[in-house]
Symmetry: C2
Subunit: 350 residues, 2 copies
C-alpha cells in the first residue's frame, strides 16, 4: 500500500441493477416505468433554450419546488429536491442521523440504507421482517438515532398500513423518521397527510418510477420547514447547485400533466394484477404487491438458475442472493407485451 492510500475511505458500494446496451432486452430489473414521460416533457425539451446553459441554475430549484408544493398542497419551505431520491436520502442520512444510538431499518429493505450508514459511520440495527416479510412496528419502539423504511417496501413490494406507519412515528418523537415512498404512487397509503401532525417526519418520493423519469434524476423530500431547512443547509455545504437546468424545467413540466400520470399508473397497476394471477397459475407465490414490481418465488424452482436462464434470453429481472431473498426474483412490471414474453418463457422453462 502506498502511504497516501492509508487515508482513503474504505467502503463497499451499492451495486445498481445492470443497464444492458442491447436494444432488444426486456428490462424488468430496475423498476423503471415501461412508458415514456408525459408529452408535456417532450414539448418542454423541444422548447428548452440551450443558450441558458451558460448560466448556473437556481440553487433553490424554485420552479420545481413550487410545482411540487402546488401538487401536494404544501408550502415551498416544506419541499427539498435532489438528484434522485438516492441523493435526497444520502443527504438526509448525513443531516439527521448524527447520534451514537443506532438507526433502525428492516433487514430486508433497500440495500442502499446500510451503504449510506457505512459511508458516514452511522451505527445501525436491522430488525428482521416476519416470515411473511411484514414489518413489525413494535421493533421500532426502542431507543434509536433515527428510523427509515420504504413503503411499499423493496424488494418485497409489500405496503405497510398508514395506521402502523403513524404508530412508528408517534413512538419516535425523539428521532427523525424517514418514510421512503419511492413506490407509493403504485399502491399503499402515503404518510403525507401526517406531516401536519408530526414535525419529525420526512417523506421522500421520486420521479424515477411513477413519473417515468429515471434518466433525469429527480427526487424530493417533504417535511416540516425546520427539517427542510436543515437538509438544505447540508446540501449547500455539499454542492450549491445539484439540480441542472434540464431537470428543473422538464421536472416541472411533468407535474403539469396529471392526466398522463394517472393514466400510466392505471395501466401499470392493471398489468401488475394480471401478472400476479399469471404467476400464481404457474405456481409462484408472492407477497401482495403494491409497487411496480412483484417479488415472486416458486417452491421447488431455483431462483438463481431461473434468473440466469431469463438473462440468457435477454429478459432481465433482479435476484438478491441473501439468505431470505435467494428464492425470489424481483420482477418489474413492464408493458403487457413485455410480460407476455416473460410468461411465454416461463411456461416453456417450468
Amino acid at each position: 500500500m502506498k502511504p497516501w492510500e492509508a487515508n482513503i475511505r474504505n467502503v463497499t458500494p451499492y451495486v445498481p441493477g445492470e443497464q444492458p446496451k442491447e436494444a432488444d432486452v426486456i428490462k424488468l430489473n430496475t423498476n423503471e416505468n415501461p412508458y415514456g414521460p408525459s408529452p408535456a416533457v417532450k414539448k418542454a425539451a423541444q422548447e428548452f433554450d440551450t443558450e441558458l446553459l451558460r448560466l448556473y441554475p437556481d440553487p433553490a430549484s424554485r420552479v420545481l419546488a413550487d410545482a411540487l408544493a402546488k401538487r401536494y398542497g404544501l408550502g415551498r419551505d416544506q419541499i427539498f429536491v435532489g438528484v434522485g431520491s438516492d441523493e435526497v436520502l444520502a443527504l438526509a442520512f448525513l443531516t439527521f442521523f448524527n447520534s451514537d444510538k443506532p438507526i433502525l431499518f428492516p433487514d430486508i429493505s433497500y440495500s442502499f440504507y446500510s451503504v449510506w450508514a457505512e459511508l458516514y459511520g452511522i451505527p445501525y440495527e436491522r430488525p428482521a421482517l416476519d416470515r411473511d416479510f411484514r414489518l413489525r412496528k413494535e421493533d421500532y419502539y426502542k431507543e434509536n438515532g433515527g428510523v427509515v423504511f420504504p413503503n411499499p417496501n423493496a424488494p418485497t413490494s409489500l405496503a405497510l398500513g398508514l395506521s402502523e406507519v403513524e404508530d412508528i412515528i408517534a413512538h419516535n418523537q425523539r428521532s427523525v423518521v424517514i418514510v421512503d415512498e419511492a413506490y407509493i404512487d403504485f399502491g399503499g397509503e402515503s404518510a403525507l397527510g401526517l406531516l401536519s401532525k408530526y414535525e419529525n417526519l420526512l417523506v421522500v418520493q421520486t420521479f424515477s418510477k411513477s413519473r417515468s423519469m429515471a434518466g433525469l434524476r429527480i427526487g424530493y423530500a417533504m417535511g416540516a420547514p425546520a427539517l427542510i431547512r436543515a437538509l438544505s443547509d447540508v446540501k449547500y455545504s455539499f454542492n450549491s447547485y445539484t439540480m441542472n437546468r434540464t431537470s428543473l424545467v422538464l421536472g416541472a413540466a411533468a407535474l403539469e400533466d396529471e392526466a398522463y400520470f394517472q393514466e400510466t399508473l392505471g395501466k401499470i397497476r392493471a398489468t401488475r394484477e394480471r401478472a400476479k394471477e399469471r404467476l400464481g397459475a404457474l405456481g409462484f407465490v408472492c407477497p401482495e404487491p403494491s409497487a411496480n414490481f412483484i417479488f415472486a418465488s416458486r417452491p421447488g424452482t431455483d431462483a438463481g438458475a431461473l434468473f440466469e436462464a431469463l438473462k440468457e434470453r435477454n429478459i432481465y429481472v433482479r435476484h438478491f442472493d441473501g439468505p431470505r431473498t435467494k428464492d425470489y426474483l424481483r420482477i418489474t412490471v413492464g408493458t403487457d407485451g413485455q410480460m407476455e414474453r416473460l410468461f411465454e418463457f416461463l411456461e416453456n422453462y417450468l
Copy 2:
C-alpha cells in the same frame, strides 16, 4: 429545541453568488461564460430523445468519460465525472481526506474548501498567501492529511507556475494532492502532464466556465486509476446515478467542438487584457489575472460601497468581506459590451 433536533448536523453552508431574476442585469458575479455553449450542444439538445428519460442513465457515465479521456489523452479509468466540480471535490474530500492530520489549503481561496472540511469533520490549516496574494509552496511541505488548492487561484485570479505545483506534489508523497483547475483554460499551466509521474495527484476541472455549461452541472477529475477507483467507490456509496441523461449527451457533444471552445477562450482572454488596462487607467490595481475574472482594488475607494453602487445599477460583481479581501472586487470577464457598461459606470462614479 425539540429532542430530534439534537441529532441534526450543524453546518455553516457555502453562499453562492446571487442569481438575479431581472433580464437586464449585467452579471459579472459568478464567473459564468458570457458566450453560450457550442452549436454542437444545441444540435444534441434538439436531437435528444425524451423517451429515453424513462430509463436510468449509465451509472459509469461512459459516453462522457470516454469523450474526456479522448480529449485529454488519458484512459477511461483515469476519469471521474460528477455534478459540477463542486460534487467532484466534495466526494474527493470524503474519499481522500481521512487522516487525523490537518489538510492544507490557502487562507484566501475557494471558500467551499473549509465548508466541506467542516461538513465531514476534517481538520484543516490555511497557510496565508503572501502580501501579493502569492501561494508560498514551502508552506505545504509539512506533514498533512492532504493538500488542495485552485490554480489559477480564486478569487485572486493568480496562477502558480507548473514547477511550483510539481514541487508541492513531490513534497507530499504521503498525501493526495488535489489541484483544482476550474479556471485553467483561461490561463496558467495545467498539472495534467504530471499525472504520468505522480500517482497521488488529482486534477479537477469543470464545464461551468470555459465550456459555457454552468447550467448543466458537469465536473471531472483526472488521476491515476487507483485514485479514480477509490473516488468511484465512494460515489457508488452515495448516489449510483449522479449524472442525468442530458448532462451525459450534451457534455459529450460540447467536447466535440474544439474550435468553438478555442474561439470563445480567445475572446475572453482578449477582453480580459483590455479590461485590465482600462482598470489600470482608472487607478485600480490587481494581481496578474489568469482566470476569467479580475480581482481589483482601488486605493482610496471603498470596495463595499462600490459593490453596492454597481448593484443598484444592475451591474453584479462579487465582494468578499474578509480582512484581506474587503478592499477588492472580483469582476467576471463578460463580453466587450458588458465591460463597456461597467467602465462607463466607473468613470462616472470615481
